[in-house]
């Protein structure tokens, strides 16, 4: 019996808790206390939401209504109270019980409440009309508990009379669900009927009396779906009962409590029973096997009540000092991500994988049924991609781990076989061939290899609770107060960071950062454990995963949130159920839910991507986001403003007031003016004016002053910008307004003396007018003023005048344009938004697709040709005689190197190759050139090895690598194998460069190209090279031997064909050839022979074209006709055929040869590769044992002209390709 596994989620401190009820939807729990208080807690936040204190004395029964915002309570004051938690008050009280009320419950669908009491009755109430509808009597002691059946019309009750009773209340339902069109009298009559109707039936009948407890029964509960009942009594037993339509019986007893059992219930989803008792324990029982699974003990507090959440895996128990909310097991499915695959363990303990790209779940890869105990799910999963193995830890048996290889082909639920296991609390892969195991009890970390042997072990820092991968060669070691970065090699902590209670570590995809998750904190650190940022969450943090761009998405109980490296965070979306994030990709978040099912949740990553690009100053990206998504909202704006990007925030704001503020803040006058015009409020214009003035933008200033009707300021502005015409207009305006001060001012600015004098006169200030006129020397004006006023000059005492005021003249016509404005605050970003930046293209450049076409065409032709070749070659390979194997001499007795114990040198792998293989190539690779030559001589009669030297050395050079080992010594020589998976020294074979596939896909194509491009001399060398490469080669499968032979034949034909044509061209220039009849004849013959070797059809067409043209030019029209006919028969390129048709038409008119040549177009013959003359069928000939080229008998014993290696006519055992 393990005491681990129970996870306490919430605890409250209070007086004794007697009743508990979970809210079905919200994270709320009602607790009724012995002290007469009812508490409403949010167990997720750990806060007390409300208290309800109207009962007098202990409150024992409590229940939430399933759908309405109601709850019911009952206590020792005999009262049942129905409350609204919305209005936070008691709605009404049901009176009737005559003693303490023990429990109250709502019916799941009818407006009923069931209560039971020490008055020995069970009562059912209608809370809508607040009436008692049924009283059930029968128990003859206190009734401790009574509950409705969750679906059927049954009630179960428990009493201190030692019995459990099951009641049938279907009668009551019938009666009350009947149409309610009853008269008042009927209702009264029904009320008075009490329990018996006219047929003597009762509304509630005792169906079964279950006797078995020896003492009073404290609690009883129905199974949610099955016909089972569980009860707990003062006899310390928990009894399991079963019932059918007609009877009920005791099934089994769970023994274990050593004090009164006070509460019991069925687990809502699993085959488990939970019970609690005054022995201070909560016990979990397997309801199938009736064995104890778990127990949990409190030091001092007796348990009084236990309750289960109706939906989620959560329980609560009330004890002497409060309430605890807990769950029985971790719901986090063990999982791990590797590249595009998620590996996870299902509730059935099956290992599965999920492909993020295909969005598909694999079948079960492996079953872990036997790992740990049945009720303990595995805790962690670590995956090793290199070995395709998993490391699973389970808290069962004090912590254990198991290392299991996943089956290569995930077919069917395989039981784990060949697993390696051990004790340990955490186990993770730290390298592909090492894993680390932490044992918390002994405080050791073992580094183990894949065969489960401890390679090293060390003591981690004190109090280590968990270990995580810490980057190559490192571990992250978690203690309750700190995280250590631990170097495995040096066995020491190389960095330490004080973070409390870290539970999980999540590495970023690039391995540069990690997120340390504790219950309420996320700390982002670098790979060297330097803290980057940290954030606090009031809600529990469950999981996290990194976006590719370096944004951490994390999930709390009810949200997916994000945080950037700098700690800026926000909500991505809400969750209706808790999930564990495993991957984020684009708009999809992949996660596992609590049922261990992979889920894809779509999110809108715009906000965090935007913030990220802001942090990274990636303006293109921001621009893209702004343009493509509707990113608005106060949070973004205030975020941008706070971060000092008012100009960007401006792009999101619709509200003019905010827009104006932002525009002023970032100095964007255009926007400010625009908004100001829209709103047209003086305060705004004033600010625009001030701002514009500071920018030097006098045009906007002017507009602002105009709007504000600040004439003086306007005038001064015009003065300072030198705009006289406007000043004049201002003067006019002032005149209209009758504002003399302004008029005077403007006149002063404009130097309009007359105007001033006129104004003074108008306002009867003649002295001033006179003075002005006098000062400016306007004597006539003076006189007229004197006349008007009737005073003579003598009567006046005038002061001394200075020089008359000179009108200021503008130096620069500033008014025509703005001053150079304040350094532009327009960011790149704004410009881009305003479309001023050219070449900033949001769309990706279309891929340059112009010059790809030609090549593509060529390739196409090439492949077609290859295909054609292969078709043709099929026919040719059949005749090749493979010959019998001759065991080469080099196949000595095998010496087993491993068994020689004594000192002295062993034989190198190179020596082994020669022993292991009858192939010349392998001998060459091993450096035994003599034996290789010997083999070739025997197999194909090779005698002239000089041309093979490059090939020999090529193979030899590829055979060894040089592994630098100890300093000061030569590197260690190792031998490269083509049998990579082989370790048996008797089976290993060397790598042979330029194997069949390489030759066919490279050299052969080059040869074809040389044919096509008419570079025949190169072609001859290429095909001869192919032959030599094939002569010393190996294939990896028996089936390839035929292909190799085919390639030899083909290469030999090409080499021959090209050699013939090369020889013809060497006869001399066309002039020389035409001059000599002999040469002409030979030239025509050779051109005809060129058409004979079995080369690929398009190439043969070229040969035929060549021959046809030469023949027709030499008036050998009969031959030309035959070539033309052959060309037409072959078909192919229209241009060639056109040509052929023309020649044919021409030749048919006179089908005679002008030059007689040794070429019989009707006879069958082959070409001697030495003399280039026909070997007619029937005449004797010799062949090259390697390439099959034919020779007249007289060439027997010479070196083959095609391969240049073998002796003509020498019989061999046949070339071997496959060891």
């Amino acid at each position: 019996m393990a005491s681990s596994g129970m996870l306490t989620k919430f605890e409250s401190k209070s007086s004794r808790a007697k009743g508990i009820a979970f809210h079905p939807k919200r994270p709320w729990i009602l607790v009724s206390l012995h002290s007469s208080t009812i508490q409403l807690w949010d167990y997720r936040m750990g806060t007390l939401i409300d208290r309800f204190e109207e009962h007098d004395g202990p409150v024992r029964g409590i229940d939430f209504h399933k759908t309405q915002p109601l709850f019911v309570s009952a206590g020792d004051d005999y009262k049942i109270k129905v409350w609204s938690y919305q209005t936070r008050r008691c709605l009404f009280t049901l009176n009737g019980h005559l003693d303490y009320v023990r429990t109250v419950f709502f019916h799941h669908e009818l407006p009923w409440i069931i209560s039971c009491s020490d008055d020995q009755t069970i009562r059912i109430w209608n809370w809508q009309n607040r009436s008692l509808i049924c009283t059930m009597t029968g128990h003859n002691h206190y009734v401790m508990c009574a509950q409705f059946h969750p679906k059927e019309d049954l009630v179960v009750s428990a009493s201190l009379d030692q019995s459990v009773r099951v009641w049938d209340i279907s009668g009551l339902r019938k009666k009350h669900s009947a149409p309610t069109s009853m008269s008042f009298e009927d209702q009264v009559a029904r009320q008075n009927q009490q329990q018996t109707d006219m047929f003597g039936n009762t509304d509630a009948m005792v169906k079964f009396v279950l006797e078995g407890h020896d003492r009073g029964v404290n609690w009883v509960a129905f199974h949610p779906t099955a016909p089972h009942i569980v009860s707990a009594g003062d006899d310390r037993l928990v009894k399991l009962w079963r019932f059918s339509e007609t009877k009920a019986w005791e099934v089994d007893t769970c023994r274990g409590h050593f004090q009164n059992a006070t509460g019991c219930l069925f687990h809502p989803h699993q085959d488990l029973i939970l019970s609690c008792g005054e022995d201070k324990t909560i016990r979990v029982w397997d309801s199938q096997k009736r064995t104890a699974v778990q127990s949990f003990k409190r030091e001092n507090d007796r348990f009084w009540v236990i309750a289960a959440h109706p939906e989620i895996n959560l329980f609560a128990a009330g004890h002497d000092n409060g309430v605890m909310v807990f769950k029985l097991e971790r719901e986090r499915p063990a999982s791990t991500v590797h590249q595009n695959n998620l590996f996870f363990i299902t509730k059935e303990k099956h290992v599965r994988s999920y492909d993020f790209q295909k969005n598909s779940e694999s079948p079960t890869l492996l079953s872990l049924k036997r790992l740990g105990s049945a009720w303990v799910p595995p805790r962690t999963l670590s995956y090793n991609p290199a070995e395709r193995s998993v490391l699973v830890t389970s808290p069962a048996d004090g912590g254990s781990y198991e290392l299991i290889n996943l089956p290569r082909d995930g077919s069917g639920a395989l039981e784990a076989t060949d697993s390696k296991r051990g004790q340990g609390n955490s186990a993770i892969f730290v390298a592909r061939n090492r894993f680390a195991v932490l044992n918390t009890a002994s405080q050791t970390v073992d580094i183990k290899d894949l065969s489960n042997n401890t390679a090293r072990s060390f003591k981690p820092p004190v109090g280590t609770t968990d270990i995580y991968f810490g980057g190559t060669g490192n571990l992250l070691i978690i203690t309750p107060t700190a995280v250590h970065l631990y170097d495995i090699q040096q066995k020491k902590s190389i960095a330490e960071l004080a973070v409390n209670g870290v539970k999980y570590v999540v590495w970023s995809n690039d391995g540069l950062h990690a997120a340390l998750l504790s219950k309420h904190n996320v700390t982002i650190v670098t790979k060297t454990l330097e803290q980057v940022s940290t954030l606090h969450e009031t809600i529990r943090i469950k999981s996290a995963t990194w976006d590719d761009a370096g944004v951490l998405l994390y999930s709390t109980l009810n949200h997916i949130k994000y945080t950037l490296m700098n700690g800026d965070n926000g909500i991505v979306r809400t969750l209706d159920q808790t999930v564990y994030l495993v991957r984020v990709k684009g708009r999809n978040v992949y996660c596992l839910d609590r049922a261990a099912k992979p889920k894809v949740i779509s999110i809108d990553p715009t906000e965090y991507r935007f913030k990220l690009s802001l942090v990274k100053r990636n303006y293109e990206e921001m621009l893209h986001i702004i343009k493509t998504s509707s990113l608005v909202g106060q949070s973004i704006i205030s975020y941008l403003q706070k971060k000092g990007y008012p100009e960007i925030a401006l792009q999101f704001v619709q509200d003019p007031a905010t827009r104006f503020e932002l525009a002023i803040e970032c100095g964007n006058l255009d926007v400010a003016v625009e908004v100001a015009k829209e709103l047209d409020r003086p305060a705004l214009w004033k600010r625009v004016g001030d701002e514009a003035l500071s920018h030097g933008n006098h045009q906007v200033v002017e507009m602002a002053y105009q709007k504000l009707k600040q004439f003086e300021k306007l005038s001064f502005l015009y003065l300072s910008t030198g705009d006289h015409s406007k000043l004049a207009r201002m003067a006019k305006i002032a005149e209209h307004r009758g504002d003399f001060t302004a008029r005077f001012q403007n006149a002063l600015y404009l130097g309009e003396v007359e105007d001033r004098i006129q104004m003074f006169k108008e306002i009867d200030l003649y002295p001033l007018a006179y003075m002005t006129a006098k000062a400016h020397g306007l004597e006539e004006e003076c006189q007229s003023i004197l006349e008007v006023t009737g005073i003579t000059e003598e009567q006046l005492t005038l002061p001394e005048f200075g020089a008359p005021l000179k009108q200021p003249q503008p130096v620069v016509p500033t008014y025509k344009a703005n001053w150079p404005t304040k350094a532009s605050s327009q960011s790149f970003f704004e410009k881009a938004l305003a479309g001023q930046l050219e070449g900033l293209s949001l769309e990706e450049e279309p891929a340059a697709a112009t010059n790809g076409f030609d090549e593509l065409g060529d390739e196409d032709i090439l492949t077609k040709k290859t295909a054609a070749l292969e078709v043709e070659d099929d026919d040719d390979a059949a005749g090749w005689d493979l010959g019998d194997d001759i065991v080469p001499e080099a196949d000595h007795d095998f010496v087993n190197v491993d068994s020689t114990e004594a000192g002295g040198a062993g034989s190198s792998e190179a020596d082994l190759w020669a022993r292991n293989s009858p192939l010349a190539a392998d001998h060459v690779a091993g450096g035994s050139f003599e034996s290789a030559m010997n083999l070739l001589n025997r197999q194909v009669g090779a005698v002239n090895f000089a041309p093979l030297k490059p090939r020999f050395l090529e193979i030899y050079q590829a055979s060894k690598t040089y592994l630098p080992a100890s300093a000061g010594l030569s590197p260690l020589v190792n031998y490269v194998r083509r049998t990579v998976d082989e370790t048996d020294p008797r089976q290993v074979l060397p790598i042979i460069p330029r194997d069949l596939e390489h030759l066919a896909s490279n050299d052969l194509q080059k040869g074809y190209d040389s044919m096509k491009s008419n570079k025949l001399e190169d072609g001859v060398q290429i095909f001869k090279g192919i032959l030599r490469a094939l002569l010393v080669n190996a294939v990896s499968a028996e089936g390839e031997v035929a292909e190799a032979k085919k390639l030899i034949t083909s290469a030999a034909e090409y080499a021959l064909a090209m050699s013939i044509e090369v020889t013809r061209r060497r006869l001399g220039t066309p002039d020389v050839v035409n001059a000599s009849p002999d040469l002409t004849k030979r030239s025509l013959e050779l051109s005809a022979y060129f058409t004979i070797p079995k080369i690929e059809v398009p190439h043969r067409q070229l040969a035929l074209l060549n021959a046809m043209n030469l023949a027709s030019r030499s008036k050998n029209l009969s031959s030309a006709l035959s070539f033309a006919n052959r060309m037409l028969a072959n078909g192919g390129a229209p241009r060639l055929l056109e040509n052929a048709k023309k020649v044919k038409a021409q030749a048919e008119r006179n089908p005679h040869d002008a030059v007689e040549i040794e070429y019989d177009q009707f006879a069958e013959f082959e070409i001697c590769a030495a003399s280039y003359t026909p070997i007619y069928s029937g005449t004797p000939f010799e062949v090259c044992a390697f390439d099959g080229s034919k020779y007249h008998s007289k060439y027997k014993g010479t070196v083959c002209t095609i391969c240049e290696v073998c002796e003509v006519g020498k019989k061999g055992s046949g070339l071997k390709f496959f060891a």
Partner: protein, 294 residues
Amino acid sequence: MDPYSAEGELVNIHNHFHQGQYQEVVDFDTSAFSAENALPARVLAHRARIALGQADDVIADVQGESDPELAAVGALAQFSLGKTDEAVKTIEELASSAGDNAVVQVMGGTVLQAAGRSEEALALLSQHSGNLDAVALITQIHLEQNRTDLALKEVRAARSWGQDSLLVNLAESWVGVRVGGDKYQQSFYVFEELAQAPATSSTLSLASQAVCELHLGRVEEAQSALELAIQKEPEYAEAIANLLVLTVVIGKDPTDLKAALQKAAPSHPFLTDLEEKSALFDKAAAKYSPKVSA
């Protein structure tokens, strides 16, 4: 406490040396080392200098020193300058006078083995007591003698007491590359882990990683690792030699690389061996001739 153990002062400098980070060894700040570790640190620095081709400096530095350690290092320096006989003579003297000295064993083993006297090298090295340097050397000598069985035995024994230390892993990997099969991959892990971590990466480990990849048939990866190594150290003979091998394996023309190797290390085993084989070919080919010459 064993100064080379994980807790000791010498572990980092020692690891640097064996990871082929010779410059880091030379630059290593040993001023904080305790007195007893000063000499081993100096020996390591000298060995690193020799590996960097600065044997002259080493000889100048150890001139007149009486410590057998320094004398042994001096011998290695001489050897690396081609003064084979002198070096071997010094080592033979040291072997008889101070054969139990760990540095003498390792230096002596290196010199003797390099001089082709494997049995004597093994005899000297076998006197070691818990010295992983000696174990690594013994392993290498066994491998050079194609005694994979003995090398394997040596490594297994060392694994039991040497724990997971770098040299044991390296030696095991050397054996692994020889054994092949799954072991290629295992060895690859070790080298790759060293090569890919910036703190431990060196051209040596890159080349080693590439060798494993080449053996595993992963030529593209091997090629990029080797090219990276050459990029870091253009004259690094092992990288050039292995890239040369790789180039031949994939059927490309190795002429340029051969010239590069000729320049970097004219006496590289690849070149000497090839020359030898070329002569052998001519000799062997001369035995054959066609009956009728054309």
